[in-house]
């Protein structure tokens, strides 16, 4: 197991290097630059700025410099948005904000979505099932900004129940977390419904019933654990995506999180921030996938991850 995890970490570093190089090249292919704004600075100023941040050098030299610095833990400073502030500082400041909302959202998605799927599967074909299926289909087809706006209008503006912006007190987490959670919750619901239906029809469920196990124990002990694999698979990248912040939720509810900042950094061509947030997100996705693979083994003893990785 330790050997397997080491191997995965080495693979992760290679993947991160590739992602970083690719992002670096793509980013530079996009026209524009960090120092351009409505009032264009003179060529002399531009040249001086480019020289200061090393942007006058050929691309491959820039890439090499960036990689060497990054491997030493130096991800550069912001060029535009928070001028000359180290990028790592910015991430350390912004990430916890997104993380807090994100974790609430993931928890909501899991504890509502999975039971929703189980209930729908248990009452398959019935009224409860039809109702939940409508809700889940709505959930995966309504875009996030519609959900966010509707919440804002009803609970924020009309009813004045919840604060409309910022993160002050636990009530302010409700709407952004729900906005982030709604789609994955419904997706998880559909996923767990179908894999539960699959599990319920297996022979071992019949065996469990034949020995007199009660209905609830059959669903939550025997069927659910077998149905969890696809759910956990989806949950890995989902968690990475949500905890790094949702652009829509953070923009609508004015939350100073990483998700919104990432999009703004792209618009502003703030190269070091784009690079650092991309690498950070990629590392998180890779980490979550490793966690998922280890969870597979915990859920299903038949799975041998150390062999599966080699093919």
């Amino acid at each position: 197991m330790a050997k397997y995890i080491c191997k995965r970490i080495i693979m992760a570093i290679v993947v991160l290097l590739l992602i970083a190089s690719l992002t670096f090249l793509l980013m530079n292919l996009v026209p524009g630059g960090p120092f351009l704004s409505e009032k264009a600075p003179s060529q002399a100023v531009l040249d001086a700025l480019n020289a200061k941040y090393g942007l006058d050098q050929p691309l491959h030299i820039q890439l090499k410099n960036y990689m060497v610095n990054a491997l030493h833990g130096d991800f550069g400073v912001s060029l535009k948005m928070q001028k000359n502030r180290p990028v790592t500082d910015i991430i350390i400041e912004m990430f916890p904000v997104s993380l807090r909302v994100g974790i609430v959202a993931v928890i909501v998605a899991v504890i509502c979505g999975v039971p929703m799927g189980c209930i729908a599967a248990y009452y398959r074909g019935g009224k409860m099932d039809s109702f939940l299926r409508v809700v889940m289909t709505l959930g995966i087809s309504i875009p996030g900004f519609v959900v966010a706006t509707l919440l804002l209008i009803f609970f924020g503006v009309k009813l004045h129940w919840l604060p409309t912006m910022g993160l002050n007190g636990w009530t302010s987490y409700i709407m952004p977390a729900f906005t982030l959670a709604f789609y994955p919750m419904c997706y998880l619901g559909r996923l767990s419904r179908s894999s539960m239906l699959d599990a319920i029809n297996q022979d071992y469920i019949r065996t469990a019933r034949a020995k007199g196990v009660k209905g609830k124990a059959i669903i939550f002990k025997h069927a659910l654990r077998n149905a969890l694999i696809p759910v956990v698979t989806y949950l890995g990248p989902l968690t990475a995506g949500i905890v790094t912040g949702g652009f829509v939720a953070e923009t609508v509810f004015c939350i100073p999180g990483l998700g919104r900042y990432f999009v703004q950094s792209v618009l502003n061509r703030d190269y070091p921030i784009i690079m650092a947030t991309t690498i950070f997100l990629a590392a998180l996705v890779i980490l979550m996938n490793l966690v998922v693979d280890i969870l597979y083994k915990v859920i299903d003893p038949r799975i041998d991850i150390t062999k599966g990785g080699e093919h």
Binding site: D203, A210, D300
Partner: protein
């Protein structure tokens, strides 16, 4: 079986139908039989004859769209069909348990053998501590002939062979000491040597525990090996029932005769071709008005196609449902 002896289970005119979009399928069309304590009864029939449906009905595992439409099942005098969901959950496993055809898929792959064995015990009686449940599980595994049971209970189903898993299934069925075990083709999915071992084991355990077994199979050899009584089912009806000797040496229904003729025999010295039963089973969506076997029967008469045959007593619990026997009986009178 004498009437004064106490009966374990009595099935009276049981009718089970499946309500499919295409129409009502009368999977079990009114069957009756009774069983005493520590008796082994075989139910023989081809696929789709309703033998499994009948067994699932006893243990209350009939899946929708199946429904009991008539009759009663008396277990020690109480009608099982009147039990509610909770009573039935408590009844399953404790009074009657069931083992299934495919041991490869019948154990939950994500829990250990021990966990699943202990669960069978603990879900009926929470007062049993985990320690005692564990000991009982080990005891049961020893009974079904599994070596190193204290190691085995920590293993997962995928770490055991098919024969081993069927032994575990049997151990699980027996752990609450039920009065009746329903075995739904327990040897069909196993290879022949393992089949023989499992049969031997079941015979052995039956002698030790004195429980009754309903043995569902399409293998007449298995029936001869293990059963006291046999019911032959065809198209949702019991066409003939009696003790093993009556069925094998004095078959009375043309279908039973056909089945026996189509089976190879080891004691035959002249090798002749086996005689198959011509035709195919009836369409259960549109069952014939008369005898279900009529269209395939070499002795078919006009009345067979129009009216259901009556069940004729042939003495000593031997019964068959056939117009041939009914008319013979009349002539005899």
């Amino acid at each position: 079986m004498e009437n004064n002896e106490k009966k374990l289970i009595e099935v009276k005119d049981l009718k089970v139908s499946f309500f499919t979009p295409a129409g009502e399928v009368k999977a079990v069309g009114g069957i009756s039989y009774e069983m005493g304590y520590s008796e082994v009864m075989g139910i023989v029939g081809e696929s789709g004859s309703g033998k499994s449906v009948e067994a699932y009905t006893i243990i209350g595992l009939l899946a929708s769209p199946g429904k009991v439409v008539g009759g009663e099942i008396l277990f020690e005098g109480k009608n099982l069909l009147e039990y509610d969901k909770k009573q039935m959950e408590d009844f399953r496993g404790r009074e009657v348990s069931m083992i299934f055809q495919n041991p490869m898929t019948c154990l939950n792959p994500v829990y250990t053998i021990g966990n699943q064995l202990m669960e069978a015990l603990l879900c009926h009686d929470k007062s049993i501590g985990r320690e005692e449940a564990r000991n009982r599980a080990i005891e049961m595994l020893t009974l079904v002939g599994i070596n190193n049971p204290d190691k085995r209970i920590k293993q997962y189903p995928h770490e055991l062979s098919g024969g081993m898993r069927q032994r575990v299934m049997i151990a699980m069925g027996l752990i609450c000491h039920p009065k009746l075990l329903i075995a739904d083709e327990p040897t069909t999915a196993l290879d022949v040597t393992i089949q023989a071992q499992i049969l031997e084991l079941m015979k052995d355990i039956q002698k030790k525990t004195q429980m009754s077994i309903i043995f569902i199979t399409h293998n007449l050899g298995v029936v001869a090996e293990i059963c006291d009584k046999v019911s032959v089912m065809y198209a949702g009806k019991i066409v003939e029932q009696g003790n093993v000797n009556d069925i094998f040496y004095n078959p009375s229904h043309p279908y039973t005769k056909g089945l026996l003729r189509s089976m190879p025999r080891v004691d035959e010295t002249i090798y002749e071709r086996l005689i198959p039963i011509e035709g195919s089973p009836v369409d259960m969506l549109n069952p014939p008005e008369g005898c279900g076997f009529g269209a395939r029967c070499e002795h078919c008469m006009k009345i067979c196609l129009r009216k259901q045959p009556p069940t004729v007593e042939l003495g000593n619990g031997h019964r068959a449902a056939c117009w041939l026997l009914a008319t013979k009986e009349k002539e005899g009178n």
